[in-house]
């Protein structure tokens, strides 16, 4: 081995890892080659340092193979952050896809027990058809609403009747309608009958602990004894509309319920005949059997006989 080749053994001298044969070759070459001898003499400082077990241990610790520090892929921060982001994105997506729709908050009304007029689509504007003259007169006189403080609208033959129109104002009309009820067929007195007809349908699930203020409603007459009722109520609670007549108590469910400007608006349609009564309830808790709700006695938050209109 030439001195040049023996020089390649220098690296093993300081670390003390040369074999006996390698040491012999290296030293023999160093004794014959001054450059190699000088390099070996310089290497002595490193050899002395590496001969110290403490220094050797420190260097070994610093030279730990990087594989010893490799974490599993799933434990790296980047991977975890990516997984968390995906999880959040999927969760938000599911919520948006399957969460409660703000437009139709879970109406769970019992089966409709009465005939519903299907002529007009639910979104169609409800207009009273051929209102009787009595109704028009009352409409013009009962525009002021104590609940809504609305500005009275100008008299109009098609103007709806609001719940704010107090009962006293509607009473004469009801009496007239009842007086005509016997000789006339229901279709002939539809306008008069519908004038006071309110119906509220089964509850829209809301926060039971907070039932907002009393609802307001608008009753609009329709032909053939039918009615349309639009109720605006607070976003909490459960709204029920019961019809009471000789055949018993039935629940009328809303055709449409939607959230607008922080308030629920429900649209009911139906027909009421003579001797029928419509009670409106707004309860803090859901009622499993709304038909059992009392018509009289202590009121549960909100209960109102919207038809026939009380004096």
């Amino acid at each position: 081995m030439t001195p040049r080749e023996a020089e390649q053994l220098l690296g093993g001298y300081a670390t003390g890892t040369l074999t006996e044969a390698e040491r012999r070759v290296l030293f023999a070459a160093a004794l014959e080659d001054q450059t190699l001898f000088n390099a070996l003499a310089d290497e002595e400082a490193l050899r002395e340092l590496l001969a110290d077990p403490g220094a050797r241990a420190k260097l070994l610790a610093a030279l730990d193979p990087p594989t010893a520090h490799i974490r599993p892929l799933w434990r790296r921060p980047g991977t975890m952050a990516l997984a968390a982001s995906l999880l959040v994105a999927v969760g938000v997506g599911l919520l948006l896809r399957h969460g409660p729709a703000p437009e139709a908050p879970g109406v769970h009304a019992p089966a409709l027990s009465e005939e519903q007029p299907k002529a007009a689509p639910p979104s169609q504007k409800i207009v009273a058809a051929s209102p009787p003259p009595e109704l028009e007169e009352k409409r013009s006189s009962v525009r002021s609403s104590p609940q809504t403080d609305r500005v009275p609208a100008p008299p109009s033959p098609l103007a709806p009747i609001t719940s704010a129109e107090n009962h006293a104002a509607l009473a004469p009309m009801r009496e007239k309608a009842e007086a005509k009820q016997a000789p006339e067929p229901p279709s002939a007195r539809a306008g008069a009958s519908i004038a006071g007809a309110f119906a509220f349908a089964p509850g829209v699930a809301r926060d039971a602990s907070k039932v907002a203020a009393a609802p307001t409603w608008i009753l609009e007459a329709a032909p053939a004894g039918s009615f349309r009722l639009k109720v605006s109520w607070g976003p909490e609670g459960h709204l029920y509309l019961l019809r009471r007549d000789a055949s018993g108590v039935s629940t009328i469910k809303p055709e449409i319920s939607s959230l607008q400007d922080g308030k629920m608006e429900s649209l009911f349609t139906g027909a009421v005949g003579a001797g029928s009564a419509l009670d409106l309830y707004l309860l803090p808790e859901e009622s499993k059997v709304p038909e059992t709700l009392p018509a009289e006695g202590p009121a549960q938050r909100f209960r109102h006989r919207i038809w026939p209109v009380e004096k």
């Binding site: 220098l10 023999a28 001054q34 340092l49 030279l63």
Partner: protein, 176 residues
């Protein structure tokens, strides 16, 4: 004279010491002081002759000579420092030398270790791995197996290049 073919221990020792003297003088002349090189080589050989007379083979004598040379060089530097004007202290006032490392030497060693660690950190992965295996006591043949090299000379070459690179990273000198 082929030092590897010496069979007579006495003759081998004589040949080795003769070669050592020549190399030490040249080394000391290049690294220390030419006028003191002869004295330095002589002091090393005196120590070997007086304290290590039982060692006859080159494998023992050469590394021993390197260690003694290192100590003698350090002593020569300290002696030169003592002769300076700024450190005129009576020899009697100097404390006795201790076997324990002095704070100065401990600091120097720590500093050297830090430099070495820093230089190793700047090496490539292969060089770091070779150095690590050597620190673990692995020989070149074992390193060849571990690193999957086809030839032992490949490991020699890799290690030689890594050593040169490490020395460059340390500024060309193992000591500050």
């Amino acid at each position: 004279m082929d030092l590897l073919l010496q069979n007579d221990p006495s003759a081998a020792r004589t040949a080795v010491l003769s070669a050592l003297r020549e190399r030490i003088v040249a080394f000391a002349a290049s690294r220390y002081a030419r006028e003191s090189a002869e004295d330095l080589a002589q002091e090393v050989l005196v120590v070997i002759h007086e304290k290590y007379g039982h060692l006859e083979w080159m494998e023992d004598l050469v590394p021993l000579a390197f260690q003694i040379l290192r100590f003698k060089l350090a002593a020569a530097r300290r002696k030169a420092f003592r002769h300076g004007e700024h450190s005129q202290v009576a020899p009697e006032d100097l404390p006795l030398a201790s076997d324990e490392p002095t704070p100065e030497s401990a600091y120097a060693k720590r500093q050297q270790l830090e430099r070495l660690s820093g230089a190793l950190a700047r090496l490539g992965g292969r060089c770091r791995e070779i150095f690590r295996l050597k620190l673990q006591g692995k020989g070149f043949a074992e390193i060849q197996v571990i690193m999957g090299a086809g030839n032992l000379n490949t490991i020699y070459t890799w290690d030689h290049r890594c050593r040169k690179q490490l020395l460059e990273e340390m500024g060309g000198r193992w000591e500050p």
